[in-house]
């Protein structure tokens, strides 16, 4: 199976790969997936004044999973928390031209976004 050019590009040049300190103010962390399933995504957002000013990811998974999370971080930056919640896995499928067997990678990326947002919200609420 050949990969789309965009998947290859994200794989070879991952955007925003890395980590923030989980405890840091305004940081929301989402970890989804399971090693037994062959993919784990960690997606982090840094929020200031309700806007995502930075995002980072680390992914254990196939090329499409890496590309999906890399793309997600690109899309998250500059969005408000509310806008970020509207990112759909189908947008990722379309942008990366993912074949049917790789749709679960995009679902995982959407889940990771939701988990990071929820974590941010929980931290914000507990203050």
């Amino acid at each position: 199976m050949a990969y789309s050019e965009k998947v290859v590009d994200h794989f070879n040049n991952p955007r925003n790969m890395g980590s923030f300190k989980k405890e840091e103010d305004g940081v929301g962390t989402g970890i989804v997936g399971a090693p037994e399933c062959g993919d784990v995504m960690k997606l982090q957002i840094k929020v200031q004044n309700d806007t995502i000013v930075d995002a980072k990811f680390k992914t254990f998974g196939c090329g499409s999973a890496i590309a999906s999370s890399s793309l997600a971080t690109e899309w998250l930056k500059g969005k408000t928390v509310e806008e970020a919640g509207k990112i759909k896995n189908t947008d990722i499928v379309q942008e990366l031209n993912l074949p049917p067997v790789k749709i679960h990678c995009s679902v995982l990326a959407e889940d990771a976004i939701k988990a990071a947002l929820a974590d941010y919200q929980k931290k914000a609420d507990s203050k």
Partner: protein
């Protein structure tokens, strides 16, 4: 060095130019049907086939008359299992096989279970992927008509104790089939000494052409009979009808002859190369695990898991090297390798496995390049891996509550 580098010789092998050369005349001037008894074209083709039959038989210490040509090992496995069950169904309805067999055996066994009501015992393997002969003995009932255990595994290269299993089969008077697709031409196989009654193998794994294989069917002590699964002109002593693909058979014969002459030297060279590849990788990287048996394995096979890195992404990062992975992402089912799972390898490490298959034409510099590239890519992907990060932070990944999906 030419790219891409081919290190997937368990999947298939390039044809040896000497094999091709032997085949070529049989496509054009020697095009006869080996079954044409009335003219020189037929005789010439038949002579080519019979020479090949001898070359093939010699490699496995069989008689030429015991070789039945098929389209490949998948067909041979089907013919052996279905042919024996159909022929001996009055004697019993139980067969014994192992859980790490190739799909051609496992799926055939499944079909026999569902369509013919055959009872199948799937023996477990030990942590190295080896069948225990005592398990075979204990699984035998008075209804057992066939034992089918593979010679060497296609993923992990583990070689089974075939001689011991053959002895038990003989003792109990049960037929023994061996899928030796990965073993023939790579390591010495002697159907007499090993007590094998039926054996499947194919040409394209031993530098011969695709589309041709054989089933060895023992002629005496005991005389094995199988019910044909293909009706027609009664070729191959009635066991497999269909016009013989003479050029492919001639190539298969030549490939076997070359293996007989060069197998020992190939194996010696490739095992040194393989061990160097393994040593280079384990020296540079931590948390690398060998899958399969440390010593009882095919000389050209290396299967290792790189913790914290998913196999398909690793292959993607090494795209100039042709390799194979037990990762689910490379399969249609999204399930990781059932072979590795049968060994007790955790799913996460099964997803992280890579199979190297060296071959007759593999060069030292290619293996060195592959080692370097794998080390670079694993290092890069570990930097990207949340699992590696957690492990480095001292988190035991087994204690984490993952959300399986």
């Amino acid at each position: 060095m030419k790219f891409p580098i081919y290190l997937d010789n368990h999947a298939t092998t390039p044809m040896d130019p000497r094999v091709l050369e032997t085949m070529l005349p049989y496509f054009t001037e020697k095009f006869g049907n080996a079954a044409s008894r009335n003219h020189a074209f037929g005789w010439e083709a038949e002579e080519g086939v019979e020479t090949a039959r001898k070359q093939i038989a010699k490699l496995i210490h069989a008689d030429a008359k015991e070789i039945v040509f098929t389209s490949g090992a998948t067909e041979s496995n089907n013919l052996a299992l279905k042919g024996v069950v159909e022929m001996y169904h009055e004697k019993g309805d139980h067969i014994i096989t192992s859980s790490t067999e190739h799909r051609a055996v496992l799926d055939t066994a499944k079909t026999l279970e569902t369509k013919r009501g055959v009872k199948v015992t799937y023996l477990p393997v030990d942590k190295f992927g080896m069948v225990n002969p005592e398990d075979v003995r204990n699984a035998i009932t008075d209804k057992t008509i066939l034992i089918s255990v593979m010679f060497a595994n296609n993923e992990i290269g583990t070689i089974n104790p075939i001689k011991e299993i053959g002895k038990i089969a003989k003792e109990k008077g049960i037929l023994f089939h061996c899928d030796a697709t990965q073993g023939v031409g790579k390591v010495p196989i002697n159907v007499q000494e090993m007590g094998i009654d039926l054996m499947s193998f194919s040409a394209h794994k031993i530098y011969g052409p695709k589309g041709i294989g054989a089933l060895y069917v023992r002629k005496k002590n005991p005389r094995v009979r199988i019910a044909a699964q293909m009706d027609g002109g009664g070729h191959e002593r009635g066991m497999r009808s269909g016009t013989l693909p003479v050029p492919l058979i001639v190539g298969f014969g030549k490939a076997c002859e070359l293996c007989e002459q060069e197998m020992a030297a190939d194996a010696a060279r490739l095992s040194v190369m393989r061990d160097r590849l393994h040593a280079t990788i384990t020296k540079a990287l931590e948390d690398v695990y060998l899958n399969g048996h440390p010593t009882e394995r095919l000389p050209h096979n290396l299967n290792i898991s790189f913790a914290y890195v998913e196999g398909e992404s690793l292959l993607m990062g090494c795209k100039e090297i042709a390799l194979s992975s037990g990762s689910a992402c490379t399969s249609a089912t999204l399930e990781p390798s059932y072979v590795l799972r049968a060994l007790g390898v955790g799913a996460e490490l099964a997803h992280s496995s890579i199979r190297f298959g060296l071959g007759r034409f593999t060069l030292d510099e290619e293996v060195d390049y592959a080692a370097k590239k794998i080390i670079e890519t694993v290092t890069k992907l570990r930097e990207m891996s949340p699992l590696y990060e957690m492990a480095k932070e001292g988190i035991d990944l087994k204690t984490v509550q993952w959300a399986a999906h």
